[in-house]
């Protein structure tokens, strides 16, 4: 069994990360009835003997003593991390896993990357090494951050770079929250594009998330609950947005519901690596199957179902509905419509009581309405995990490498150019040691190249299918 380490950077990263750990504990508590520290738990948690204080040795087997998250919390302001440490999750984190400062990054990528990066480099490397040493077999780093600010964006991508240098064999999955059009941070396009260059070059897989989509999903759920249309009540803890049953007892903050969705995404992504099933899908398989060319590693994700009704009987019609929903526009976690764009690859990770025949039936049913690239007509990667998420009898995570990410990138580029042409706010960046005009031009050209790659693929969509001729054998 392998371990993964979560690195949460910046305000957004830490808030999402906090929800992730809370829900992870909830999930394992639901499955692990005996209180024994098992392999599934060890993927994200250490079991520490705290009788001799916080520096106690790790216990690898036997009863759970004290669970510590395999995480690194980084923020250049203290507010968010302090709140976490005073909240119900305080025992899950080790004081040695935190790196904080006081003044923040001023929504400036360059401050995050160049100044704090330089300043905290040794500290970060040392803490990463420590975390890695506690792992038997470290497979993956999960970075959670936002793109629009300064810390998450700048320092976050600095850490990404660092991970590639120090731990080249370990996979790097990045969950990036992209800024929306009406973002109140004026410089978010600069920050995002500068960060994108780093993501292009150093990440194995990126899961882009847009707040608008999360917001729409939250609204949709509220409407469903309040409309009274449903015959039965919705199971509270089954909501993809809920914290019900978790350690958090304080009143919900406005972003909590949205962050829970992202937390659930990460839980589902790693479920097959943690729990057993008839067709396992490990994290290295996700990277292998969904990344046909090194730079095209942006995966659009969708989670279904968003909630479960309290009645237990699930006719297969509802199961099929779950599959259909996974491809609909309003279940995607970014503003995109995969159905009308070109699929390069698609992965379906199913949890719960679903068998291979259900999978096959639904793939056959949905395939005709989806456009796949000519060289990957049957490009499906499937996984079956027996353990469903809390509150559900089954669930589905769909990951698509699809050209529908292009509009998001094009918009980002447009917003960047609007500012850049007028050289607005540029001096805030250029005055930082190590920043030059070329950083900007390289970043925008990296983004343009990426968009161009997607364009080329889109151009093949719908065209005549010409199969390359096979090798001829002399008879």
């Amino acid at each position: 069994m392998t371990q993964s380490v979560v690195v949460q950077v910046g305000q957004c990263g830490n808030q999402v990360g906090c929800r992730f750990w809370d829900l992870a504990l909830r999930e394992h508590a639901a499955v692990n009835k005996k209180g024994i520290y098992d392999e599934a738990l060890s993927s994200f948690f250490r079991n520490v003997d705290t009788r001799s204080g916080d520096n106690g040795p790790d216990i690898y087997k036997g009863k759970i003593c004290s669970l510590k998250a395999r995480a690194l919390l980084i923020d250049m302001e203290e507010g968010v991390v302090n709140e976490i440490l005073q909240g119900p999750l305080r025992d899950v984190f080790d004081s040695k896993q935190l790196i904080t400062d006081v003044s923040g990054s001023g929504n400036n990528w360059a401050v995050g990357y160049k100044i704090y990066g330089c300043q905290y480099r040794e500290n970060i490397v040392e803490k990463l090494r420590k975390t890695a040493e506690h792992c038997d077999c470290l497979q993956c780093f999960f970075i959670i951050h936002s793109m629009g600010g300064g810390t998450g964006s700048g320092l976050g991508t600095f850490v990404l770079n660092l991970l590639e240098e120090e731990f080249p064999e370990v996979y790097r999955f990045v969950t990036s929250v992209y800024p929306s059009g009406e973002d109140d941070v004026i410089t978010s396009p600069y920050n995002s594009v500068l960060a994108m260059k780093e993501l292009n070059e150093h990440a194995d897989c990126v899961l882009p998330i847009e707040n608008e989509s999360l917001f729409e999903i939250v609204n949709k759920i509220h409407q469903m609950i309040n409309s009274g249309k449903l015959g039965s009540t919705v199971k509270q803890n089954s909501l993809v947005t809920s914290s019900a049953g978790s350690a958090k007892t304080l009143p919900e903050k406005p972003f909590d519901a949205m962050n829970n969705i992202v937390a659930n995404l990460l839980l589902n992504l790693t479920s097959s690596a943690r729990f057993e099933g008839s067709l396992n899908m490990d994290l290295n398989e996700i990277s292998m199957n969904l990344v046909p060319f090194p730079r095209l590693h942006y995966l659009v994700s969708s989670l279904t179902p968003l909630y479960t009704l309290a009645d237990v009987n699930v006719p297969s019609r509802r199961l099929d509905q779950m599959f259909s929903d996974a491809f609909s526009r309003d279940h995607q976690l970014i503003q995109a419509d995969p159905k009308h764009s070109l699929y390069l690859a698609c992965a379906l990770l199913v949890r719960g009581n679903v068998q291979v025949s259900d999978l096959r039936r639904n793939i056959e049913r949905l395939k005709p309405s989806l456009h796949f690239v000519s060289w990957n007509q049957e490009g499906w990667k499937t996984g079956l995990c027996s353990v469903p998420p809390v509150g559900h009898s089954h669930s589905l995570l769909a990951l698509a490498n699809n050209t529908c990410v292009k509009p998001t990138f094009i918009e980002l580029k447009d917003r960047f150019m609007k500012l850049y042409k007028k050289k607005a706010h540029l001096h805030h960046y250029l005055q930082i040691d190590g920043m030059e005009q070329s950083c900007f031009s390289e970043a925008i050209s990296s983004l343009s190249d990426l968009i161009e790659e997607y364009n080329e693929l889109d151009a093949t969509k719908g065209g005549p299918r010409i199969d390359p001729s096979r090798l001829k054998i002399a008879v």
Binding site: M1, T2, S278, N284, S357, K367, K381
Partner: protein, 450 residues
């Protein structure tokens, strides 16, 4: 003679467990329908082949379990032990922590050399536990990374370490609509490498078994467990003891050797398909009766028309008549030419069965005598509750179309260079791919021109 089974990857280990379960439960079954002496002889032979009798009295499977991650093997071990009737040895498994990531190159170039010694030591120990080693049976899938890549490497190691032993690779071909996106690359790499080191490749396609589950067994929600149980039944019907043709009264002492001898006369043609009749839900068995002529007629037509099961057979297909070189109808006949066939009959009244239909020379290519091309093994001992059952192992054009399809899709992907960076990163270059494609196009061409 004993057979050592090597279970590789998730698929190999899941199936292997079902196979041993099926062999054990059939052997212990009370529905043998034959004399006590015959039954005893059958049980002894089965035990010698697949199990090791230890002081503990619960038979221990002669198997080595290999996987690059631990979940599946621990499940297999515990399920076997909890059955109470057989178990795996507690020292015959090898696992790692990280898996192969569906990457053939990772399995073959990295895990293979790294773990060769440890794995081969387990195999050696298992081989030494046999009084007489009859050969190796490896179970693996082609789609993933461990079964396929590491499996190909291990097969080569087996060949190097045991140059005179028989090696039969059981291969699972994935669903056409994808379980793994790079499955066609992995399949092409596996098949071409195995062609050089294995003696024969016995193939099962997931799509076919799925159809059997759906249409013949009427299973509503088909799970991989169901699929694997059908596979185990089909394999059991081949590997359980039977009397070779013309041999003495004893059960075959060299099952793998006999199999290879009858079915693989030429090294270019190593792909074996398997058909089994009848297949029905267990609940229907008491209400069904079978006759040998009926069963064999269906099985023969399944062979000729390349049908995958006993429903939906195209009865229009006929073998070409001697003397006529062009078929008379306009419709292409899709006639399945055989190189060699082996029929294994189990149950009541086997000795009186008329096998003429299978000895018809028009079924076969011209370069073998029909006497040599066709063989039959029999036993009066019924198998797995079927009063009469027949298995056909065939070296024919069964697998031509599926093979062509896999190579075509892989070539299509290769032409666009998609995913190649994942393989080159671990040591498989474009030239290696080209070599593999060449090998397989050769195989396709050979089978097409039968």
């Amino acid at each position: 003679m004993s057979i050592v089974t090597v279970q590789l990857g998730q698929c190999g280990n899941q199936i292997g467990h079902e196979v041993f379960s099926a062999l054990c439960s059939d052997s212990r079954g009370t529905h043998g329908l034959c004399s006590k002496k015959e039954n005893q002889s059958y049980q002894d032979s089965c035990k010698e082949r697949f199990f090791c009798e230890e002081q503990s009295a619960v038979p221990v499977a002669r198997a080595v379990l290999v996987d690059m991650e631990p979940k599946v093997i621990s499940q297999a071990l515990s399920m076997a032990a909890s059955s109470g009737h057989w178990r795996y040895s507690s020292h015959s498994h090898f696992c790692q922590k990280q898996g192969s990531g569906n990457n053939w190159a990772n399995g073959y170039c990295v895990h293979g050399p790294r773990h060769k010694e440890a794995i081969m030591e387990l195999v050696q120990r298992e081989a030494e536990r046999c009084d007489r080693l009859g050969g190796f049976f490896t179970i693996m899938s082609m789609a993933g990374g461990t079964g396929s890549g590491l499996g190909a490497f291990v097969t080569q190691c087996l060949r190097d370490a045991f140059p005179t032993s028989f090696i039969l690779n059981h291969l699972i071909w994935p669903y056409g609509t994808g379980e793994v996106i790079v499955q066609n690359y992995n399949s092409v790499l596996t098949l071409s490498h195995l062609y050089h080191s294995s003696d024969a490749l016995l193939v099962h396609e997931n799509d076919v078994i799925h159809k059997i589950c759906a249409q013949l067994l009427n299973i509503k929600q088909i799970s991989f467990r169901d699929v694997n149980q059908v596979l185990a039944h089909q394999l059991g019907s081949v590997f359980q003891p039977a009397h070779p043709a013309g041999g003495g009264s004893g059960y075959s002492r060299n099952p793998l050797g006999d199999l290879m001898e009858t079915l693989v006369p030429h090294p270019e043609f190593r792909m074996l398909g398997l058909r089994n009749i009848p297949q029905m839900p267990e609940s229907s068995l008491p209400y069904s009766t079978f006759s040998w002529p009926g069963l064999l007629k269906h099985l023969r037509q399944m062979l000729i028309a390349n049908a995958q099961m006993e429903e939906g057979i195209d009865w229009q297909v006929r073998p070409p008549q001697p003397g006529s070189s062009i078929p008379c109808t306009n419709k292409p006949l899709h006639f399945n030419t055989s190189i060699a066939n082996l029929l294994i009959l189990r149950g009541k009244d086997v000795h009186s069965v008329d096998l003429g239909g299978f000895q018809d020379p028009s079924l076969y290519t011209s370069w073998l005598n029909p006497q040599d091309a066709f063989n039959a093994w029999k036993t009066p001992r019924a198998f797995n509750k079927y009063e009469k059952s027949a298995a056909l192992v065939s070296n024919s054009q069964f697998l031509l179309k599926p093979l062509d399809s896999i190579v075509g899709k892989a070539w299509n992907m290769f032409a666009s260079k998609a995913y190649l960076h994942q393989y080159t990163k671990f040591g498989i270059q474009e030239e290696d791919f080209l070599d593999c494609f060449t090998t397989l196009e050769q195989v396709i061409s050979s089978y097409t021109n039968l």
